[in-house]
Every structure is written in C-alpha cells, then in structure tokens.
C-alpha cells in the first residue's frame, strides 16, 4: 500500500490529509520558510503515533511533528518529502493534581487553555509565549518556549516534570514524574528544546505554578531607548527580578496604540512594562523600587494598572504586537537573540544602525529583563531585492548578539532559520557532540531532518569511535 493508505489504516482516512491545498498549508509555520508536506496525519493516541513512526520508517520518509504551527524558526516546516504529524487532536488534559501542582496533558493542548482549565484551582502553566492563545504544550516542549513571565519563572524546561515520548522504531518511553531527583541520565532535559529531532512527545507532565495573590503592573515611559534600557539594568542590579520586564520602542507603541487603544503614549521613545507579583507587602515594596529606579533613569511618566481589566489590556497590547505590524507593511521578519543584560544599550543602538544600513524599518518589542531581543523588520516581499536585504540584516543581527557575548536564540529555537549559524556559537567539537545526541536517539535520521544542526556537524575525527553493538 502507499503511504497515505498505510496511515489511514491507523488513524482513519478522515485524519489523513493529501489534498494539495492542505499539504501546502502544512508546508509552513508562522515564519518565512516553506516546504511541502507529502501527507499530513492527525493521530489521537500514543499508539497511533508509534504506528505512524514505524510506517514512516518502512517507507523511508522523514517525520515532522507539528503543534499549532506558530513557530517562527521553521522547526515544523517539512524540508523534504515526508509525513507531517499534527498533534492537534491530542488535546486531552488527562489529569490535574492540585496537591502536587502538576498535570498530565496531551501535546496538542493549547497553552492558554491549560492555564484557564487550572485557574479555578489557583494554578497556571508559567511559560506564556505571546502566541499562547494558539501554541501548544507540545510545541512549547519542542522549542523550550519562553514568554514575558519566564524572567522570574524560567523557560518551559523548568516546568516539565516528565513526559511520554515515541522514539525511533516506535519505542515508547516515559521519563520523569512527580517525585523529584529521578536518578540516571536525565532524558527529559535533553528532550525539551530538541525541536522534534529526537522523537515525538505524546504526553507531558507539567509543573503548575500558584497564581500570585497580588500583581502590580507598571507602565514606565521614557524619552530615550537608552533610559529605558538603563532602568532594566538598574532594576536587576537593585536585587529585584520582576515577574516580567518588557520593553517596546516608539515605532511599536504607535502601531499597537493605533489598533488597540491600550493607553500607550505614542510620543514616547520607549516604554517599559514591569510586573511584580506575590503577596501585597512584597508587591508594594518591589513596585516602589521599580518606580524609583525608573524616575532616576529619566522616566517621563510612570503609571500603575488600576485593576485587572487595565492590566489585561496592557498585556493584550504587548502580546498582540506582531499582529499590529500588519498596518505598516505586508511582511515582517521577527528575530530572537539574547545578549547579557549589561550589553542591552549598546546592542540596541547597533540594531537600529543595522536597520538603517539596509534601508529597513527596524522596531523592537522584547523581553528586556532577560536580555532577549526581538528586533522586527517590516518590508514588502514583493519588492525585488528586499528579502535579500532582510536576510543580510538578519545575519548581522545574530552576529552582533553573539559578538556581544549572547546567544543565537532565546526562545524561538534554531530550526532552519539559525541552523547554519550554529558555528557562530559553537566549535566543531561542540557541534559534533550535539550531532552525537541526535545520532543516539535517531540513528536513521527520520525525525525532523536538517533542523537545529548544520549538515556535516557529526565529525568522525573527534574522540573515539562508538563501539559496535551500542544500538542493539
């Protein structure tokens, strides 16, 4: 039988897509990269996923796992003919354990749905990417996703207690659990952030975080990007790690304000959104420090969200930033790099210069508190040569961050986008070690090939050969 027929025998023909338009739609994520799926399959159970893996191996075609497709680095883009496995039907919240502050969920559960589900218990899933209304837990696990509130709470990896995963050969393993300090080599940690290149996660045990009893959200206004960035350094240096510390520049606030009317000052060069959480005495004390530092750094105004509705509007505005960009140009390219917080000011100034040099409109809305930059370039891809300028500027942005002691990506992942830039950060020996991780899980190379690592990363000149029989 052919590949689609074999898959249909497992999941039913309703859950196998072979239509040209559907395959086209599943050929891209939210970024700029495009491939074409040979066939899209939507399993509902772990057993079905295992069977799909075996079928793909039999047909010798790769498997690309996909959640909601909100990724920006091309991680879910099928680069060669193969099977796209959509996890959207695996969206069951199996159990919520309030006493242990954890939940077993399917990979297709939407991030925000989980936190809404657990809200009556006073708990939430801490990672909150801007795409949280659409992105899935499985996608969060694959990319080790972040979000504004990862500043104090940490990225997805800090919130995954265990998982069930289908490996090559259709082998199903379960790692981790509610009990702490599981001995042995921690496979859970290597799987989080592996971008679907090692296996397919079919169930996730997430850590839930108590909702804060009190929240204070401050909007600090500045007449220079430098002053806003100095406030970020000042707050961190003063011994406060706020729940979130977000910055956006004037170009961004104008677009957002024009759309959502959140009360952002459109004449300000930059604004900072600072949130402190906890019990009231702590929140009050920390908010005072943040406000004082903002004034000391030259803030022109500081206001506090008066109630939950105002706070929700501020966050909606922040998390809708990328949608607002549609007003100005048909296309945008959003970057994701990290620099040490001490290098924010000089890096940002150079980011704007890169935009000017390439004749591109550069705007910034980003997680300032952890040095996670999101420079965004708007353009019209139909204008000849524009995309070349975007790619040239992109390469400079990444190199700038790495040169300043930073990293290629803070939360979006490597995917296709930064695959060939990995040598900026890692030596040949380092990349070979990464490739050995891939090889140890997926010797046949069927899971999401040509992602995360440049071709030729595995270099058999280093170290000692792995003894035969290790894979038996």
């Amino acid at each position: 039988m052919g590949l689609p027929e074999d898959l249909a025998a497992v999941v039913g023909s309703d859950h196998v897509l072979t239509d040209g338009l559907e395959r086209f739609l599943y050929g891209k994520d939210a970024g700029v990269f495009r491939g074409t799926a040979t066939v899209v399959v939507m399993p509902a159970t772990t057993g079905e996923v295992a069977e799909i893996v075996r079928i793909a191996e039999r047909h010798e075609v790769p498997i690309v796992a996909r959640g909601a497709g909100t990724g920006l680095a091309g991680g879910a883009v099928p680069l060669e003919a193969g099977v796209v496995v959509s996890t959207t039907r695996m969206n069951t919240i199996f159990s919520v354990d309030a006493a242990n502050r954890s939940a077993w969920v399917g990979p297709g559960v939407i991030n925000l749905d989980l936190s809404r589900h657990t809200a009556p218990l006073g708990l939430h899933f801490a990672p909150d990417p801007s795409s949280q209304q659409a992105c899935t837990i499985g996608g969060n696990v694959a990319n080790n996703s972040g979000g504004p509130h990862c500043l104090a709470d940490g990225s997805t990896t800090d919130h995954i207690l265990g998982m069930e995963v289908v490996l090559a050969g259709g082998t199903v393993i379960t790692v981790g659990g509610d009990a702490p300090d599981v001995p042995g080599v921690d496979l859970r940690t290597i799987l989080v952030g592996s971008e679907g290149t090692l296996g397919i996660v079919t169930k996730v045990l997430v850590r839930l975080t108590p909702n804060p009893p009190d929240v204070r959200t401050l909007l600090c206004v500045f007449d220079s990007v430098r002053a806003a960035a100095a406030t970020v350094s000042g707050v961190i240096g003063a011994g406060i790690v706020p729940a979130a510390l977000e910055m956006m520049d004037q170009r961004m606030t104008v677009l957002i304000e024009n759309w959502l009317h959140a009360g952002f000052p459109v004449d300000a060069a930059a604004i900072l959104l600072a949130e402190v959480t906890g019990e009231t005495p702590s929140v009050t004390a920390e908010a005072e420090v943040v406000e004082r530092i903002a004034w000391e750094c030259g803030a022109t105004a500081v206001s506090t969200a008066a109630d939950d509705a105002e706070r929700a509007l501020l966050w909606k505005a922040r998390k809708s930033a990328f949608g607002a960009v549609a007003q100005t140009a048909p296309n945008y390219y959003l970057h994701d790099t990290v620099v040490p917080r001490t290098r924010l000011v000089e890096t940002l100034e150079e980011v704007y210069r890169i935009g000017e040099r390439h004749g591109l409109v550069m705007m910034n809305v980003f997680h300032a508190g952890d040095g996670n930059l999101h420079p965004l370039m708007t353009f019209d891809a139909s204008e000849p040569g524009t995309l070349d300028r975007v790619h040239a500027a992109s390469a400079e942005l990444v190199a700038l961050s790495v040169d300043n002691g930073g990293a290629l990506t803070g939360e979006h992942g490597v995917g296709v986008e930064k695959r060939d830039l990995m040598p900026l950060m890692f030596s040949d020996v380092d990349l070979d070690a990464q490739a050995r991780v891939k090889e140890s899980f997926d010797p046949g190379g069927i899971f999401n090939p040509d992602k995360l690592l440049p071709r030729g990363s595995r270099c058999y000149d280093f170290g000692r050969p792995i003894p035969e029989g290790t894979w038996i």
Binding site: G184, S440, R464
Partner: protein, 371 residues
C-alpha cells in the same frame, strides 16, 4: 583532534594535600586546566582505565561502588572565571567550593542557591551528583540555573554547550543534562550559572503543622521538618517577612537557620510526590534523624543496617517514588542496590552516554542499571 601524546604516568601526580582523603587508585591526578583534564581522559580511555572524578568527596556515596584506576581531582580547577553581578551570572570552574562561591556572591547580596549545608562540596560535585538546596521551592533545583557547561568527555574532548546568558535555546540542552549524570557526559570543568539576588530580609519561623504552613504561604523558600520540629523559611522585603512570620505565629528567628544534615552509618533520600511528604515522614520516623522538605517530596534520613530500608523502599516505589542511598559502608552496596529499581529507558540513556564516553571511562557502572 585531541593529541594523545601523554600516558597516565606522564601527568603530574596530585600532591599530598589534594590526595588526602581519596581512596586508593593507581593514579591520583589533579589537572591544572580544563584542557589538561581532557588530556587525562584521552590517556585514560587509551589505557582502558576507569576514572572517578573527585570534587570534595561529599557525594561519593551515591551509586554503585567501583574500583578506579585513576582518581582525578578537580581541586586545581578553582577559579571564579567571571562574575557579572549586574547580569546575575557567574562562570566558575568546577573545583570551586560551593561555600566559597556563595561567600563571594554574598558580598554583592547574590546567591547561586546551592545546597546550604554541604561544607567541602564543590560546584562540579554538586552538579554531577544532582544535588539541590533547601531553597528549591522558590528557586528550583540546581539544574535550572545551569546556563552553560564545559565538560571533558570520557574520550578526551572538551565540549561546551549552552551560553553565558539567562535565556538560550541554541542547540540541545547538554548543559543541564550533566546535572545528576555523575560524569557520564563528561567531567565538568566549568559552568555558567544564573544567580538570584538575596532578599532584604529573611526569617526562620517555627511551625507546628508543616503541611498547613506549606499550603498557607505563597512560594516560601522552604518548609522543613526534623525530629525536633518544623520551620518555615521565608524571605523578601521586610514587610513581607513580617507578615509571613505573623501569620505563621511561631517563634521567629531572623535569618535562615538550616538544620544539620542527618548523619549516621547509612544515609538515604526518600523521594515521593510532593503531597506525600508527610506520609513519607510517617514511614521513616523510626529510622533516625531526618530532614523532610515539604512541598518538594524529599526526605533525607540517617540510620544503620537494621533500619528497614527494604520496607521503606518497597513503599516508596509502590507510590511512584524511590529510596536512594546517599552514603553507606562499602559492603552495604553489595547487598542493597543504592538506586533501587532501575528507571525506565536505561538503554536510551546508554546510547546517549556512548556519544560522550564510548568506553565508559568515567564512573563506569555507577549509574542506575549499572550504566
């Protein structure tokens, strides 16, 4: 490519102070640099030798016993390479003592939230052994703070993963995977760690009911129970600490006063789901001194050969937990598996490890399942 020009006998031996307290082996080495550590590993794997990396020796009681040909000390990898207080990060070599690092960090009111009561333990030892401090309800396990790691693999490569920034998803997370791997992915030579500011105020407040204290506080540092009583540990702005202490109602002492770790002929850790901590305490109170971490699900307990470890392990494993020996006389390990039932997927772990230590040079057989 690593040049294998030196044999094990060609490396400078560890001098007397470094050798003190180490078990016997054919070679006692103490490399001066990370590169030399990698050379030692290359020479050891050439000689098919078994190497035990040694930090402070504090956590060597974990895991299966082995008889090393080489003991390699990290004592000379003792530099704090770069500390960026404004960025809340530090890059530190693995042989630095945890207490010395914390003392240095406290001069700028920062902490790496390393274990509070392990004098003599090194940064590399704590990470390799997978040990976390009492403050993990607030700051998470030690693992969460590892931003970058450089390791000397079992076949002599010097591999770096991660980056010196607090948020980073560039490549596989090898840096955090070294936590608890007992060197299977390489001997740690340096790490970059995320730091936390120390709060303005802190207090240790005696409580009668640790379960109620845990449930009643929003993200306390710790709630610990010992045979002599329980205490909640809180920190934050002074007004917050005052409110917490008043609400808890028990005797308050300013500062964080941690209990001594349980000591005895045999020590073990019982780990269960967090909400089962109280029940686990009920199972081990007859054994001896203990420290139970409510909200975490870990109880460290000390006893002797007659302590009924088999029964406690049987119960712990029946509820999804385990009992792990943390120290015992060498012969005890012959009759009692220090890890208990091997965790699932040991074969997958073995394949991963093979990419870093093809001959299992480092701590061969120490891990669960004899890996």
């Amino acid at each position: 490519m690593v040049m294998r020009v030196r044999g094990l006998e060609d490396f400078p031996p560890a001098d007397a102070p470094v050798r003190d307290g180490l078990p016997s082996a054919d070679h006692h080495l103490a490399p001066d640099t990370a590169e030399e550590m990698a050379e030692v590993m290359a020479a050891a794997s050439d000689a098919a030798a078994v190497v035990v990396p040694w930090g402070g020796g504090v956590h060597q009681g974990l895991g299966h016993r082995l008889y090393p040909d080489v003991i390699v000390s990290t004592r000379r990898l003792d530099r704090i390479i770069v500390w960026e207080p404004e960025d809340l990060t530090v890059v530190v070599e693995s042989g630095v003592l945890v207490d010395e690092l914390e003392a240095e960090l406290s001069t700028r009111t920062q902490t790496a939230a390393f274990p509070e009561t392990t004098p003599g333990a090194t940064v590399g030892g704590v990470i390799s052994a997978g040990v976390s401090g009492y403050r993990r309800p607030r700051y998470g396990p030690t693992r969460d703070r590892i931003l970058q790691a450089t390791v000397a693999t079992g076949d002599g490569r010097l591999v770096t993963a991660g980056g010196r920034v607090v948020k980073n998803v560039s490549g596989y997370d090898i840096q955090r995977s070294v936590f608890g791997a007992h060197g299977a992915l390489g001997v740690i030579t340096s790490v970059c760690l995320k730091l936390w500011p120390r709060a303005a105020a802190s207090a240790t407040v005696a409580v009668d009911d640790p379960v109620a204290a845990w449930a009643g506080l929003h993200r306390p540092l710790a709630v610990l129970q010992t045979p002599t009583g329980s205490a909640a540990y809180v920190e934050g702005p002074a007004a917050q600490v005052d409110q917490d202490a008043a609400r808890l109602g028990g005797d308050r002492r300013d500062g964080l006063h941690w209990p001594d770790p349980p000591r005895g002929e045999i020590t073990a850790a019982v780990t269960v789901a967090p909400a089962m901590t109280a029940e686990a305490v009920g199972r081990i109170t007859a054994i001896g001194p203990f420290v139970a971490q409510h909200g975490v699900g870990r109880i460290d307990v000390a006893g002797d050969r007659s302590s009924g470890w088999v029964e406690v392990r049987g119960w712990a494993e029946s509820v999804g937990g385990r009992l792990t020996i943390t120290s015992a006389p060498a012969d005890f390990y012959d009759s009692f598996d220090p890890w208990g039932t091997a965790p699932p997927a040991v074969a997958v772990q073995a394949r991963l490890v093979a990419g870093f230590d093809p001959l299992r040079t480092i701590n061969r057989g120490r891990l669960p399942g004899g890996l």
